[in-house]
């Protein structure tokens, strides 16, 4: 439990969540969501939840991002908001 590390990641998380929702390019949005998941995984590892962090790294940052990009690829990349 390292307080400074904790606070830095939390601030990053909020910033990245807002960016992921505000970019107009859905491919970029999906990629940024992958970064969000990975930061979340770091945070949980730091909190001692190693199993949860491992799962999030494999699922959130890995598979979720891939299937989201697959959907963006199969549909349209542009978003109106």
């Amino acid at each position: 439990m390292i307080a400074v590390f904790d606070i830095c990641i939390l601030i990053f998380l909020v910033a990245i969540a807002i960016i992921a929702l505000s970019v107009k390019d859905l491919l970029a949005s999906a990629m940024i969501l992958g970064i969000y998941s990975f930061l979340m995984c770091l945070l949980w590892a730091e909190m001692g939840a190693v199993d949860v962090a491992f799962t999030e790294a494999a699922v959130g940052a890995g598979v979720s991002t891939v299937i989201m990009i697959a959907t963006v690829y199969q549909t349209s990349r542009k978003s109106s908001d």
Binding site: D51, V63, V66, I67, T71, Q74
Partner: protein, 255 residues
């Protein structure tokens, strides 16, 4: 601003306000004596699970044994997701064979560097995922994480060499069979316990079937069995999800 956004904003602010209001009542952060952390339940798991199950990784012990019923339904959730995606997108079984036939030429069109890298990584990835699965009792990991990584190795093959390439290694009907077998392995373990006269998922009775085990080690080994079941299902379904979503259910081409 559109009226929808205003409604959303009001909803969100009310919800957020409520949640912030309640945080004042929480125990201090990281307090080892908070009600949740010092409950009889939590202390029982930390202090007794080593005696009752002989598994050092408390998360695995709780996940696969004490709350094993939850985990069975977690596996079922994964299974449902795969089937739901296939049902929603439709399934191109007849075209599948034709697609696999064309895979040879598609393979040539793909980028050489990607393919070679994937060839290097995939065996290591699969071996590591087996380690994660088997070593889940002693380190972070277990059936779910191992299964996701094994499924990811197939996704990697599909990304590098095209979907037909991956489907020629694990076809959709084969994957569905694997997923069904995974849930069957989990539920079947519970059912065997029932047939031996105990409640569902009460593993300790399995020492009658497993050689050279006592009631504690029977739990230990049964946990490994159910984790393997979870890994089967997760591997198959992760690949199915990717295969269906990357081809709009037509199971050809891919990204």
């Amino acid at each position: 601003m559109a009226p929808m956004k205003i409604v959303a904003l009001i909803t969100v602010i009310i919800t957020g306000g409520l949640l912030l209001y309640a945080t004042g009542d929480f125990p201090a952060w990281g307090d080892p004596l908070s009600p949740a952390n010092n409950s009889a339940l939590s202390r029982h798991y930390i202090e007794q699970s080593r005696v009752e199950t002989a598994v050092p990784n408390l998360v695995t012990a709780v996940l696969a044994d004490y709350r094993g019923y939850d985990t069975m339904f977690e596996t079922v959730v994964v299974f449902v997701a795969g089937l739901a995606i296939l049902a929603v997108l439709g399934q191109g079984t007849s075209r599948e064979r034709a697609a696999i036939q064309r895979s040879a030429e598609r393979y040539q069109e793909r980028d050489m560097i990607n393919i070679m890298t994937a060839r290097l990584i995939v065996p290591v990835l699969q071996l590591f995922s087996l380690y994660v699965l088997a070593h889940g009792h002693y380190s972070p990991g277990g059936g779910f994480q191992g299964g996701v990584m094994f499924g990811a190795s197939f996704i990697l093959i599909a990304l590098a060499g095209g979907l037909p390439e991956a489907l020629s290694r694990l076809s959709i009907p084969g994957a569905l069979l694997l997923a069904g077998l995974g849930v069957l392995l989990y539920g079947g373990t519970g059912l065997v316990c029932m047939m031996l006269g105990q409640n569902f998922l009460d593993y300790h009775i399995l020492h009658r079937l497993l050689p050279a085990t006592d009631a504690v080690m029977a739990r230990y080994h049964a946990m490994l069995i159910v984790e393997i079941g979870v890994a089967f299902t997760v591997t198959a379904i992760m690949f199915i999800i990717y295969a269906a979503l990357s081809s709009r259910g037509r199971m050809t081409g891919g990204l």
